[in-house]
Amino acid sequence: MTDGLAVALALVVLAATLAVAVTHPPYVPEAAAAGAGAVLLVLVGAIGLSGAGDALRALGPTVGFLAAMLLIADGCRREGLFDAMGAVMARGSGGSPQRLLALVFMIAAAITAVLSLDATIVLLTPVVFATAARLRTSAKPQVYACAHLANSASLLLPVSNLTNLLAFHASHLSFLRFAALMALPTIAAVAVEWVVFRRFFAVDLTRPRHASPQPERPELPRFAVAVLACTLAGFALSSVVGIAPVWFAVAGAAAITIPALVRRTATPVALARATEPGFLIFVLGLGVIVQAASANGLDSAVRAVLPAGGSLPDLLAIAALSAVFANLVNNLPATLMLIPVVASTGGSGPILATLIGVNVGPNLTYVGSLATLLWRRVLRAEDTDVELGEFLRLGAVTVPAGLVAATLLLWLALQV
């Protein structure tokens, strides 16, 4: 098979897999689509068996890391961490929507950084919604804040976003060095959101006339918080003690899971489900499909477009192009395509600039990418209650400003 044909076929398979992942047809799980696509590409020779094996081996540790983090997040939910966050927000806000927004910003940023954007979207957002309803204040700025911070605050740690985990593996940075370089960019991206949100939702954030009754004192689940703290400390010390961070994630997952199994507050089936095996297979399949496209010429096309240097203009261009890419094909495939290229040509600067692009870029819409939004709109008229222009305007303001501010501070951090 010629390279041209192979890359074309791989891109068709990628498009079909993404179409399934975006449209959620009831009888075709995305894991099956990605898995079948990968097998098909091996069978027709678009990627050799050893090439596919290499791709799977390269992704293996990352997928294991992801599964462990999913178990930790699920354990935190079981221990009541997210409900406790709701109580913290309700009490701390004192009924003021502005104070509530400040707390949502802090808590959503912390949850995203430590437990990943999935935890913020799936587990924290309903709690924030319920808290706003309880305080009788508009849920709109608060829910928009969760959606935005799940992306903007996911720059900080390798575990904050699957894109980071993929890049972390390729970057050969230590956990602490990654966090140190991304600390200022994260603060910049979140600060941009804060400034824009305060102005954008000024009317929704006016104080209600009557204070709501004082909610009860929140009780933090000490065990879950302790497990999280120990896991984070393990991550930070991983390079000092010479143990890969993934083992601390595994230890954290075991620490929060085994007691639940013993006490029978969780069943093995529920725990297996919490690792989202379908999602893990999807990531592995997607990795093989993208590898088939890259090995047959896509990577040289990407290399031709992407600047290779670490100067500020280069980093800005990399972040901007990555954001565009993430909006065309979603950030997971974009990361799989871009990271090997930037990792082979540049140092850690271009890799982290790519992450700024693929993580902040999706805030342009609320469904992951602009392409997803357009396809959903084309396929069926839904979301008629959403002022599409409003969310797009919010994205059009925060995304470019966030990209520039975060990349600028990344460049500064790299100079030290």
Partner: protein, 172 residues
Amino acid sequence: MRALIWIIEDTWQATIDDARALLPSDAEITLLHVANTEPETIAREARRGLLGRRLPPPPASHELQTISELAAQQLLTEAQARLGRPATLQARRGRVEREVVSAAEGVDIIILARDGDRQRLGPRSLGPATRFVIDHAPCRVLLIWPDVVPELRTIPPPPPPGKPPPHESPGP
């Protein structure tokens, strides 16, 4: 007289108090609350937008529509208690301004509160939803100030000759 009282979370007490004071005793009252479904849609779509995850339906305690409906019912019940008169309770969901106008069809008067900047007199004291309802109401409108009415001096001085007033000048 058929009267529709549209209540929102921030200002419902004042709206109810004024309606009780101003409506004739034989008025047939409907209390209306409209839940804006936009945040629910954003949250649901952000969840669906997580590529490759097929998540099970959320537990009942995390079902946003249930949370929203329970909150609306509770608010309407409290409002009726404060009104102290029989009233029909109506909870709607969707685009707030459109739902309110549609609920106002066939009533004689709608009572609502300013929902914007309440610190000074002026066009900004109306938020987008209230402005839409006032502009499109198919009935009489009673617009109340939910707090202490701002003083007259909060009106900005007239613009210099030849310059349009702030609300007519092009935005920043």
